[in-house]
């Protein structure tokens, strides 16, 4: 297990597919987890490998990507349903969940990245 801090936010690819979320392009854009080279090495993953990110609030499988702009120990998942499966829902007394700065764990996995349909279907079940 590797403890990290999760940040979520916008990207060009996520924004370009804002009105196109049922597409494969959106999966590429938002079902990803960026981290720096050190962290990739530490979890034994290469770019494109599936990684499982878990927090107190859930877990999600996304594809590993490299971004050396991230400090060590920080991961970035574009805003969207994959990130939101694990963010902190607490609204901080002002209505806004904590989409940034959430403590998380990351590990390599053999599990598959879920499509939007399968990801959302999980909420129908419970």
């Amino acid at each position: 297990m590797n403890e990290v801090i999760l940040i979520t936010g916008r990207t060009i690819a996520q924004g370009s597919n804002l009105e196109n979320k049922m597409s494969d392009a959106y999966i590429d854009a938002a079902a990803r987890c960026e981290m720096n080279e050190n962290l990739l090495t530490r979890i034994g993953a290469s770019v494109g490998d599936a990684v499982k990110v878990s927090t107190r609030f859930g877990e999600v499988v996304v594809n590993a990507e490299k971004d050396d702009g991230l400090p060590d120990g920080h991961i970035f998942i574009p805003m969207g349903p994959w990130a939101n499966a694990i963010v902190d829902p607490d609204t901080g007394g002002v209505g806004t969940p904590a989409f940034k700065g959430v403590p998380a764990n990351i590990e390599k996995t053999d599990e598959a990245v879920l499509s939007v349909k399968d990801l959302i279907a999980r909420y129908r079940e419970g």
């Binding site: 936010g9 916008r10 979320k21 991230l70």
Partner: protein
């Protein structure tokens, strides 16, 4: 067939509301978009729309008429005890106004996408004031631009070039050469890479950094620790010097301030900093509002109800208390028994725990496109695209209202028409008051 160019179209994607877009129309269809960034171009070009209204039966969607979908929606809303009407960002103010009428009629909660992005900014402004200016003033005057917790290169791609950095202004004739740009962020974003200076801060330490800057500004640098949130004291002192000595400074605040530790307190603190800087020079703050007309939703709701988002009409009058009455507050408390998502996509942008409750209650979606919310919806009503197929008013991130243009005709009903028809039917169902 001759192609027609519609010029000065207002882009309906982000809060920059770029009003110089050129759209090429051939045979009544959009064939190309010029000058927009990839975000705006993709939205204006459009793609597979929801074809027809739909109602879910035994787990599967069935296409129905507008009449049937509107009837079903009216019944859901008329019967609900605690309905929530959420979204209101990617449409025009005229439709938002209709939404407030509907909310009042059924005693609903009405909330906007601000509650998951800049709601904290709005609350901070209510506490401390809005030291704003227009983007035109930034363009013509600003010589110090600070992007704090925002990444316009990806979220508002033309922001720097049109308003804040490379653009030539009346008193900044050399554009980029006449300005200094700082980026303060927890990671080296694409914006950080094109700034003059990138200051890396640890997540959740913005409040402390603002306090340190204020302390230094007040002449008490001696009590500031050597590092604050990972930022060296010398760097903070340098920043204060740059702020004090500029002629016109602006801080653009992003979701790095609103969605993280301290939320609205970050805003109160940075507004205090801006206030104090005005004892030395001219300094302003503009929130980097994300969605197209989310800023307009705050204005429209405020002039109709007195409050900008998270408004609860269950008492028969407008009640506002974000933290209690925002969408995620009521969804997490499992309080809502019916929901309408219009021009916003909670399925993609709410935490999983909120979606778990949305899956259990009747959900009406009004939107041109299928998205994660559709997966949870029971009634889906496709509508015309504001700013492309409908004209109306939208507010830019700096609060300037702009008349948006209609580029092409459509067969889809507008959001305003759908809301009007639901409202009429709800009134009938509730006994014609």
């Amino acid at each position: 067939m001759a192609a027609e160019t519609v010029s000065n179209v207002v882009c309906p994607l982000c809060g920059c509301l770029c009003d110089d877009i050129e759209v090429i129309v051939e045979n009544g269809k959009i064939s190309n978009v010029k000058k927009a960034c990839p975000l705006g171009k993709n939205k204006i070009m459009g793609h597979d729309r929801i074809k027809a209204p739909m109602i879910r039966e035994n787990g599967e969607f069935k296409e129905v008429s507008y009449d049937d979908a509107i009837e079903k929606s009216a019944q859901i809303l008329a019967q609900a005890k605690r309905p929530l009407l959420y979204g209101w960002a990617s449409l025009i103010c005229e439709a938002q106004r209709k939404g407030v009428e509907l909310a009042e009629e059924i005693g609903a909660l009405i909330d906007t996408t601000a509650s998951v992005c800049h709601g904290s900014t709005v609350v901070g402004v209510q506490g401390r004031g809005a030291p704003g200016c227009t983007l035109g003033e930034v363009k013509n005057r600003a010589d110090l631009v600070i992007y704090w917790g925002c990444n316009p290169q990806e979220a508002h791609p033309r922001h720097r070039a049109r308003y804040a950095h490379s653009v030539k202004g009346m008193y900044r004739p050399n554009g980029k050469k006449d300005r200094k740009v700082f980026v303060i962020d927890v990671r080296e974003t694409k914006t950080a890479k094109v700034a003059d200076e990138f200051v890396k801060i640890d997540p959740g330490y913005d409040y402390m950094a603002f306090s340190a800057l204020r302390t230094i500004l007040a002449g008490h640098a001696d009590v500031v620790p050597d590092t604050v949130g990972g930022v060296a004291k010398e760097k903070l002192v340098e920043m204060v010097d740059a702020m004090k000595s500029c002629e016109f400074g602006v801080i653009f605040g992003g979701m790095g301030l609103t969605q993280t530790r301290c939320r609205y307190k970050n805003l109160e603190n940075v507004i205090s900093l801006v206030d104090e800087l005005n004892a030395h020079t001219k300094f302003t703050l503009i929130p980097m509002r994300g969605h197209y007309n989310v800023n307009g939703s705050g204005h429209t709701l405020a002039w109709l109800t007195g409050y900008p988002f998270a408004i609860d009409f269950s008492r028969g009058y407008a009640w506002y208390n974000p933290g209690e009455t925002a969408s995620n507050d009521v969804l997490l408390r499992r309080e809502v028994d019916a929901m309408m998502a219009i021009a916003g996509d909670p399925g993609a942008h709410f935490p999983g725990e909120s979606l778990r409750h949305m899956a259990k209650i009747p959900l009406i979606q009004i939107d041109p496109y299928a998205n994660p919310t559709t997966e949870l919806a029971d009634v889906v009503i496709p509508t015309a695209i504001s700013g492309v197929e409908v004209d109306g008013t939208a507010y830019r991130m700096d609060g300037v209202p702009i008349r948006t243009r209609k580029v092409v005709e459509t067969e889809y009903l507008t959001d305003e028409e759908v809301l009007e028809r639901i409202l009429t039917r709800v009134r009938e169902l509730k006994g014609g008051n």
